[in-house]
């Protein structure tokens, strides 16, 4: 019996009957993935214009990128803000998620909802709101201002991932550790944390990406020497298509892909 005529499910549908579905799904998945990777060949084009396939290959746009003070400074800002956001949002969100998860207090659910509002409120509103508020506080165009706003954006993700991890973790382990003589703090660090570490690493990477990829808030509250990569990219996209963007995009796609594969790899290892 060939694969084609083999039953694909228990209701006697064969793989042949379902072939259309496999084709449709494959096309959709290609459409999801391929457009992103189109930027890679574009970035190695020698042409001023975006032709595909490029008639001549070169690395000139990478040279432009690497040679530009503007792009270099923006990259430095984005990386710096991303890392600080990751270092702030991960512990803050993890602490809050843990506290609300174990407290069992009536208000815990409401507080959880409050802490994930940054995901619900439209970003444009947060952007102009912080822009206005920062104007009064002198935080516009500062690293601190960007980090604060990006931390708020990352906290909901951290909360959700960590809470899910705690939900699938047997909290009795922490209880046992305490009965065996560990303080609550020790029990958390020796027993709970090692077992949710994959989720903690995931949230750290997510926090970094949230900040690194964030556009709208950055458009408003970053500027001058502290303008982010995304702010400059957005401006470039609106005005004219500069192939330098393809080079930068390629780097960003590589960063995302590596980070995503890292989480998948750690996930498999932990299981």
């Amino acid at each position: 019996m060939s694969w084609w005529t083999r039953p694909a499910s228990d209701t006697q549908v064969t793989h042949g009957d379902r072939f259309w579905l496999y084709v449709v799904a494959s096309v959709i998945m290609l459409l999801l993935v391929l457009p992103t990777f189109i930027v890679i060949p574009m970035s190695f084009s020698d042409s001023q214009y975006l032709e595909f396939p490029p008639s001549n290959w070169s690395t000139r746009w990478y040279e432009v990128y690497l040679g530009s003070t503007k792009w270099m400074r923006a990259t430095a800002t984005s990386v710096q803000v991303g890392i600080i956001t990751m270092l702030v949002a991960t512990p803050l969100g993890t602490m809050a998620a843990y506290a609300l998860f174990v407290s069992g207090h009536r208000a815990a659910k409401a507080l959880f909802m409050f802490l994930i509002t940054p995901m619900i409120v439209p970003v444009i509103l947060i952007a102009i709101g912080t822009f206005y508020a920062y104007g009064r506080m002198g935080l516009n165009n500062t690293i601190t201002g960007l980090v604060l706003a990006h931390t708020a954006m990352a906290i909901p993700l951290v909360m959700i991932v960590i809470t899910a991890a705690l939900r699938s973790y047997d909290l009795n382990q922490e209880r046992v550790a305490r009965s065996l003589g560990a303080t609550r703090l020790k029990a958390f660090f020796l027993i709970t944390l090692p077992q949710i570490k994959f989720s903690v690493v995931t949230t750290a990477l997510l926090s970094f990406l949230t900040s690194f990829d964030e556009v709208i808030i950055a458009i408003f509250v970053s500027g001058g020497v502290n303008a982010t990569l995304t702010k400059h990219m957005f401006a470039a996209l609106r005005d004219f298509i500069d192939p330098t963007i393809a080079a930068i995009s390629t780097i960003m796609v590589l960063v995302s892909t590596i980070l995503l594969l890292m989480t998948q790899f750690i996930g498999v290892k932990e299981k």
Partner: protein, 304 residues
């Protein structure tokens, strides 16, 4: 405390250690709350205060008095009506496209044996993880007049001369659907995964054809996940900024675009805030409906 002390306290009529236990409980709750405090301070600082401030500004008229003028303008001016209509149109169309593309994809993923899901899931997760700006840029490149898509379509003879695919509604919808698809697929996939396979056996056993069993049993059971995913997509579309701004090329003016335009051109904080408040209210309203219709946190962050 000795046995005699216990006896003494018991006779005094007060609950033993009641006071101390309550104090200890309160202290523990405050300790836990203080763990959540830093995160809460950040959210108050970045969300509550700024949004509250905008809320206040939206009710301040040009003369500095309390006024509804910004809201009144929204009802009276034609340009606002057009913006709301466009926003609604883009959101509905994007959601529909996502459903048509996302349902078969989710169904396919839900049918896969567990060991293959991880690999195919990457196709959904990778766009999720790549910068929105990069993806928008990629579509800009693909959809332009001399872009890959036009070339390809002309080569296989779909059309003869380059078609305008970007800097208009078409481009915006293509880009937005691409960005929103994972938000539909993930909850829908989770809902489908939870459908009890035995129900399909039962339907087959009772004489339903595979297609009949699908439409009568599987599809209705997957609906909650689809509704939840659709509402999330719809709500996210309402406030979208980057993709319409870039792929719409100034021809697709949505609420978020309009807000920035007001600020850039007129520096009118009251009008921009009022528009923002309307956007927020609409968002919260739709999310509330979603929550009423369906426990959608379970679908989004389900135990799977």
């Amino acid at each position: 405390m000795t046995a005699a002390d216990v006896e003494k306290t018991a006779q005094s009529g007060k609950p033993l250690h009641g006071e101390a236990l309550r104090r200890q409980h309160t202290r523990e709750q405050w300790t836990l709350l203080s763990l959540a405090a830093p995160a809460m301070i950040v959210v108050v600082l970045i969300i509550l205060i700024p949004v509250g401030w905008l809320f206040y500004l939206s009710f301040v008229g040009s003369s500095g008095e309390f006024s509804m003028e910004h809201y009144r303008k929204m009802v009276e001016y034609k340009s606002y009506a057009r913006v709301f209509l466009t926003t609604f149109q883009v959101s509905v169309l994007t959601t529909l496209i996502c459903i048509f593309i996302g349902y078969p994809l989710s169904y396919f993923l839900a049918l896969l044996p567990a060991r293959l899901v991880g690999i195919f899931m990457l196709a959904v997760l990778l766009p999720f993880w790549t910068s929105l700006l990069v993806r928008t840029y990629a579509w800009l490149v693909l959809l332009q007049k001399k872009g890959l898509l036009n070339d390809f379509a002309m080569q296989i003879g779909l059309w003869d001369s380059p078609v305008k695919l970007v800097h208009n509604m078409t481009g915006t919808l293509i880009g937005m659907a691409h960005i929103m698809l994972p938000f539909l697929v993930l909850p829908l996939y989770n809902a489908m995964k939870k459908i009890d396979r035995d129900l399909m056996y039962a339907a087959a056993n009772l004489g339903a054809s595979p297609a009949g069993a699908f439409w009568k049993v599987y599809f209705p059971l997957s609906l909650p996940g689809m509704v939840a995913g659709s509402l999330i997509v719809f709500v996210l579309c309402l406030g979208f900024y980057v993709t319409p701004a870039v792929l719409g090329g100034g021809r697709v003016i949505m609420v978020a675009t309009q807000i920035t335009a007001i600020l850039e051109n007129q520096f009118d904080w009251g009008a921009a805030s009022a528009l923002g408040v309307v956007l927020l209210v609409a968002t919260v309203l739709f999310l509330y409906m979603a929550a009423r219709l369906f426990k959608f946190d379970a679908a989004l962050f389900g135990k799977g």
